[in-house]
């Protein structure tokens, strides 16, 4: 036993990083993501708020005009139409949820080849909205389309879905419902997989079946799937842009515009480069979405606290 170095008497010189490792590491790991996200997402939101107070063509000098853009919005017929169409989208798009549940129930069997059926039913979701829009636009073509042909066999007159101001929006929504229903279907199929078989059997012994079983036993257990279906469907409805741009480009007579499309048209198309006015429209859309985002976050927050 000689003078062996005792680690306790001479604590190793640990650097600042080593001493604070647990506190500092998460921020090092977060730094790149936060940097990217701040530059491209968070800061632009505030910039848009500020741009909406200016009259600016995107190139020249921006002129501060206060709330004048918003005042103009109040009397803008096209803005009103867009807002109404957004509401139509929101309401009709939610049909994807029951429709998806219905298809999921239809497909939740174990017969040969059912897996392929499930994937093929899901197929439309994988297609880009551009392709979905093209496909439906051809489907609706007034003379050559398949829909008028089918309607014709039943003896009805010619239909021009996308050319008719009162039908065009619904025609586009239907195209959007196609992939969205597929998405909801897959959510419910995975949800149905996790339904507790014992509860189902117990309810069966109690004489529950059909609708009652679905409503009181199955749907409560599908709550997580329903929540996600709501989130993605509402966000999808308010984000609708591609389909409108491809199928009607806002027409006929601007009757299929929604806020997201109208904003783009005002800020960045041949109709002019009114960045300030466009930003004001975007702010309105953002505030509408914020209501839903706040609700989603609140639900998630409660969930987190519950754990």
């Amino acid at each position: 036993m000689t003078t062996a170095t005792l680690p306790d008497t001479d604590p190793p010189k640990r650097g600042w990083y080593k001493r604070n490792e647990i506190a500092v590491t998460p921020w090092l790991f977060l730094a790149p993501a936060i940097l990217f996200f701040a530059v491209y997402v968070i800061i632009p939101i505030f910039q848009s708020f500020s741009i909406s107070l200016y009259d600016w063509d995107g190139l020249g000098q921006a002129e501060y005009i206060g709330l004048a853009n918003y005042q103009e919005l109040m009397n803008d017929r096209a803005f009103e139409v867009s807002l109404w169409n957004n509401l139509k989208w929101l309401v009709c798009y939610l049909l994807a949820i029951p429709a998806g549940l219905f298809i999921a129930l239809f497909l939740n069997q174990t017969v040969t080849g059912i897996r392929i059926y499930k994937s093929l039913f899901f197929f439309p979701f994988v297609l880009s909205q551009v392709v979905v829009g093209l496909v439906f636009a051809w489907f609706y073509l007034p003379n050559e389309g398949l829909l008028p042909a089918i309607v014709g066999w039943f003896g009805f007159g010619p239909v021009n879905v996308l050319g008719d101001p009162s039908w065009a929006t619904y025609g586009i929504i239907l195209a959007g419902l196609w992939p969205q229903t597929a998405y909801c279907m897959i959510l419910y199929l995975t949800g149905l997989n996790a339904v507790d078989p014992e509860q189902v059997e117990a309810a069966r012994l109690d004489g529950a079946k059909g609708w009652k079983m679905l409503w009181y036993v199955i749907i409560p257990q599908l709550k997580p799937a329903t929540f996600i279906a709501f989130v993605v469907t509402i966000i999808g409805a308010l984000r609708s842009f591609d389909l409108i741009s491809i199928m009607t480009n806002g027409g006929p007579f601007g009757q299929t515009r929604v806020l997201s499309f109208y904003m783009f048209e005002k800020a960045l198309s041949e109709y002019g480069f009114r960045m300030g006015y466009g930003a004001a429209i975007a702010v309105v859309l953002f505030l509408i979405m914020l209501v839903f985002i706040a609700y989603f976050l609140w639900s998630m927050y409660r969930e987190e606290k519950g754990h």
């Binding site: 647990i22 506190a23 590491t25 998460p26 790991f29 977060l30 790149p32 936060i34 990217f36 996200f37 491209y40 997402v41 968070i42 800061i43 632009p44 848009s48 239809f106 939740n108 069997q109 174990t110 059912i114 059926y117 994937s119 093929l120 899901f122 994988v126 297609l127 909205q129 551009v130 093209l134 496909v135 051809w138 050559e144 042909a149 196609w178 998405y183 959510l187 995975t190 996790a194 078989p197 189902v200 079946k209 997580p224 996600i228 984000r239 842009f241 591609d242 741009s245 806020l259 997201s260 904003m263 783009f264 800020a267 466009g278 975007a282 702010v283 979405m289 976050l297 927050y301 987190e304």
Partner: protein
């Protein structure tokens, strides 16, 4: 199991179910089947008004040959690949790190940073459009693939971080504790302990982001123009303008443009669905 397995139903009901399945599927995919049939028709079918009848002749090779060798489509496809692949790598890398930080460490602002990513992921694109376009112009990246990639990485990081963090939360925490007790450095814990366990999440996000970015149209038309940088979603519209009313070519072009995500989906179905359900529905 709900609904009651069809095997327990009467024989006629079983037969009815089995015949309804293909019929329902054909109805469901009718618009797509129509386009597939369009894409192998000869041009003469359309001029003669034979839109929905049997194809006059089988022109698969001609039509698709036109798309591949006689148009800008291959360039658009290549652009799409060069935009999509770096985005997938970037977004997955950034969010794996961010998800690790948010999933493993407890610090006061943790949940707020997390909510920032979640909320940002839900905002409408239009609120970002003007400033992001400006920024891209200022950086000299307008109409470049890099400009699109940088934005896509940033935006997708929101969704990916949500997914990664929830996935890491579900991992066995004692494993990390054990490594710490052993004195393993934190970044080594990330690299050697957590990352290998995250493979399913990485795969799920990779296929999902691939599909999202491949199918993006809005940012493609905001940040790029022309065949130098535009991806195939935007390119297909100029392709269609070029072949106006040539439905056989437009159909073939659309099918080609849609194919990569479709292949991705059928090859990686399990991961894809795990990603879509946000891992919340198992």
């Amino acid at each position: 199991m709900f609904p009651r397995p069809i095997q327990q139903a009467s024989a006629p009901a079983q037969t009815a179910y089995k015949t309804m399945l293909p019929i329902a599927l054909i109805l469901w995919l009718l618009p797509l089947i129509a386009v597939a049939v369009f894409s192998i028709k000869p041009a003469s079918d359309f001029t003669q008004g034979n839109y929905w009848g049997v194809p006059g002749s089988f022109e698969f090779f001609n039509n698709y040959g036109q798309v591949f060798f006689n148009s800008d489509m291959p360039r658009y496809m290549l652009n799409s690949v060069l935009i999509t692949v770096p985005t997938v790598i970037g977004a997955v890398a950034l969010s794996a790190m961010a998800g690790f930080a948010l999933g493993v460490y407890k610090f006061r602002s943790n949940i707020w940073v997390f909510f920032m990513f979640v909320a940002g992921n839900f905002v409408p694109f239009q609120i970002l459009m003007v400033p992001v376009r400006d920024l891209t112009l200022d950086l000299g990246l307008y109409n470049t693939k890099t400009g699109l990639v940088l934005f896509h990485i940033a935006f997708q990081t929101g969704f990916c971080t949500l997914f990664m963090r929830n996935f890491i939360r579900a991992l066995p925490f004692p494993l990390i504790e054990a490594a710490r007790v052993e004195g393993v450095a934190e970044w080594r814990i990330f690299w050697y302990v957590v990352l290998p366990l995250m493979k399913p999440a990485l795969a799920a996000l990779a296929v999902l982001i691939f599909t999202f970015i491949w199918n993006d149209y809005f940012w493609a038309i905001v940040l790029t123009q022309g065949p130098d940088a535009q991806p195939v979603t935007a390119g297909i519209t100029s392709f269609n303008a070029q072949y106006r009313a040539a439905y056989h070519l437009m159909s073939a072009g659309s099918i080609v443009a849609a194919l990569p995500p479709v292949l991705m989906f059928f090859l990686m179905q399990k991961h894809f669905i795990a990603g879509l359900t946000l891992g919340a529905v198992k």
